[in-house]
């Protein structure tokens, strides 16, 4: 750790107003269109150059973990939907997998494949949003960024329509329960899904031409915000941010859950660790997730979708005493649920390990030496979601 601290010291004390130091303190946020939520960064600037950056989160804190201590297990699924509001399927999955681990509940095969299918489609939707918001942050509302943003959201609508047909709601699905899923695929869904996947795959090269292959984008993003692989591992960064720094780690392949042990997952990595690498990893992961979604759709087995026994008072489901941690690969990284159960119908303690929080903790190490415009690019490429960071 000392080798890293010698490079830059995030805890360096700088006086807020020091006329001889000629440093300006700029509050970046919390009301800012590019901070991906309510998030504040104190940037100490020497002209346009960032000397020190202090991130402050907590503006979206909603006491979700305290609420989880009060609500019954069955009621928790719609609550954790709202953490990472861009990828709710994976939120719910992390939660119910923790319950099933303690209840030693078996999940039928069709439910596991459905969960993986939904998770992969959710990954595509979430990465589309990440690329879209990154483009609009770089280009601005009036500049060229809006095009990519609108195109990404147009494709995302296809996936949201798919989820609406299954669960009844475009967002905040409430479709995972203890023991399986609550909603099964309706008639004609497979064809609709195949159409959506085909359309997204056709339009993906267009985003490439507007972003990845665009020299303006490349020059803004290459060599900017280099995150060392070793530093990323020490900070707990996971997901596409870690894979763009050269570390080959993906929970879907290394610690498979749901139906991932039955398919082959190709992990996308990049070596440079700059913003461009993170963006291109996300674009390539969309392609990979489309392929995986087709795999899951083709091989979906028949059978029941819920293995739990139906109870009249679902609210009284009691989980035996114990502790467990379950971590899954969300579009942002490893989302974990640490559950301490005490035998009653509410958890004793439910801690959610957010993936974006660890990505944001890399900011004091990565930002110094860059300009303010680079700060926006770095923040956008890390893809944080404040609902998950603050819970």
């Amino acid at each position: 750790m000392t080798a890293l601290l010698r490079r830059v010291d995030p805890y360096l004390k700088i006086e807020a107003y020091d006329p001889e130091a000629e440093l300006m303190l700029l509050h970046f946020g919390p009301q800012h269109p590019s901070t991906h939520g309510v998030f504040r960064m104190d940037l100490y600037l020497d002209g346009e150059l960032i000397v020190k950056a202090v991130p402050h989160c907590g503006y979206l804190h909603r006491a979700v973990e305290k609420l989880c201590e009060k609500l019954a297990y069955v009621q928790l699924t719609p609550i954790v939907d709202k953490n990472d509001y861009v990828a709710p399927m994976t939120n719910e999955l992390a939660l119910v997998m923790a319950f099933e681990a303690l209840l030693k509940q078996d999940v039928p095969r069709r439910a596991r494949w459905l969960r993986s299918l939904f998770a992969e489609l959710q990954r595509v939707a979430s990465h589309l949003l990440a690329i879209g918001t990154l483009a609009i942050d770089l280009g601005g509302a009036l500049g060229g960024g809006t095009t990519v943003f609108m195109h990404c959201f147009r494709e995302r609508e296809l996936i949201l329509d798919l989820f609406e047909a299954v669960t009844g709601s475009r967002f905040h699905y409430n479709t995972h329960t203890i023991g399986g899923n609550r909603h099964d695929l309706p008639e004609g869904w497979a064809k609709q899904a195949k159409d959506a996947i085909r359309v997204i795959r056709e339009r993906l090269p267009e985003y490439g031409a507007l972003t990845i292959e665009n020299r303006i984008f490349q020059q803004r993003m290459q060599k900017v915000g280099v995150l060392d692989g070793e530093l990323a591992l020490e900070l707990g960064v996971t997901g596409p941010n870690l894979r763009a720094s050269g570390v080959d780690h993906d929970l879907r392949r290394d610690a498979p859950y749901a139906a991932y042990d039955e398919v082959k997952v190709n992990v996308v990595t990049a070596q440079t660790g700059d913003c461009f690498a993170r963006a291109i990893v996300r674009v390539k992961e969309i392609e990979e997730s489309l392929r995986l979604a087709e795999c899951f759709l083709d091989g979906l087995p028949e059978g029941p979708i819920n293995g739990g026994k139906p109870t009249k008072m679902a609210v009284q489901t009691k989980v035996p005493v114990g502790q467990t941690y379950v971590g899954i690969e969300t579009p942002r990284g490893e989302l974990g649920t640490w559950l301490v159960a005490d035998g009653t119908h509410t958890p004793y303690r439910l801690k959610i390990r957010p993936a974006s929080l660890h990505s944001l903790s890399a900011l004091p190490y990565v930002l110094p030496g860059h300009t303010v415009s680079d700060a926006i690019a770095i923040l956008g490429s890390l893809d944080p979601i404040m609902g998950e960071v603050d819970r």
Partner: protein
């Protein structure tokens, strides 16, 4: 600068030297503009296909649905606004068992139970003991999770109106009571206690479980019908008043 700010030794990242032609980024601008202009000209001259299923549109790729002239139909099973399901005699099927109020994560349902007297005239009332004197849902607090529909044992609450909460101007107007919630044609299941069953071999709970997804008796898939809101009468609610 004698304060020993070692952080000033932070190195600025090196800037690439570019000449004027490279710095104006004209080729990249033209490439990007070519893509958007292609879309623009196609949308300008090719006729827009008004198919509400946007994926199946042919011709131009305009994805706008001109609401309210064109509406995308909601899929079956859409979780929309709640409604209370009536019986044949016009009363709600609800027996005030408090299952929905207990399971609601947002605690937005308030029920007051009343008891039928033993010598009531109506046939249904002699067989059922309880009815809701007040059944109030605060639609502003509802998180549209659908757990109340799953929990109800009597098929008394459903979310199959295929519309969403209409807008209101005060917080009080979002608090809905029985007259506003009671909608739709009457529903009876063979397992209901007011049917005199011929033999005891008939199964107890033989009604379809599909009521949680597809509305029985209401127009499927795209009613989009507007709900009449009567804000003229005051709502007698004891729980949600803030003084």
């Amino acid at each position: 600068m004698g304060h020993g700010h070692s952080s000033h030794a932070v190195k600025k990242k090196e800037l690439v030297e570019q000449d004027v032609r490279e710095r104006s980024y004209v080729p990249e601008l033209l490439k990007g503009l070519a893509i958007t202009t292609r879309h623009f000209l196609k949308n300008l001259f090719v006729e827009r296909d008004p198919n509400p299923q946007v994926v199946d549109r042919e011709g131009s790729h305009v994805t706008t649905v001109q609401y309210p002239e064109e509406k995308i139909p909601y899929p079956p099973g859409y979780r929309g606004l709640h409604r209370l399901v009536p019986r044949e005699d016009g009363q709600p099927r609800c027996v005030a068992c408090y299952m929905c109020a207990t399971i609601c994560p947002a605690q937005c349902i308030y029920i007051e139970a009343g008891e039928y007297s033993q010598d009531d005239a109506a046939a249904e009332s002699r067989v059922i003991e309880k009815y809701p004197k007040q059944f109030v849902i605060d639609e502003l607090r509802c998180i549209v999770c659908g757990l109340c529909v799953d929990a109800c044992p009597k098929d008394a609450i459903r979310m199959d109106t295929y519309t969403h909460t209409p807008s209101g101007e005060t917080r009080q107007s979002f608090v809905w009571d029985i007259p506003r919630l009671l909608q739709g044609p009457p529903v009876s299941h063979p397992s209901d206690p007011w049917y005199k069953r011929g033999n005891s071999e008939q199964p107890d709970d033989s009604h379809k479980e599909a009521h949680t997804r597809v509305g029985e008796g209401l127009h499927l898939g795209g009613g989009n019908k507007s709900v009449e809101i009567d804000t003229s009468k005051p709502v007698a609610v004891t729980k949600f008043l803030k003084g």
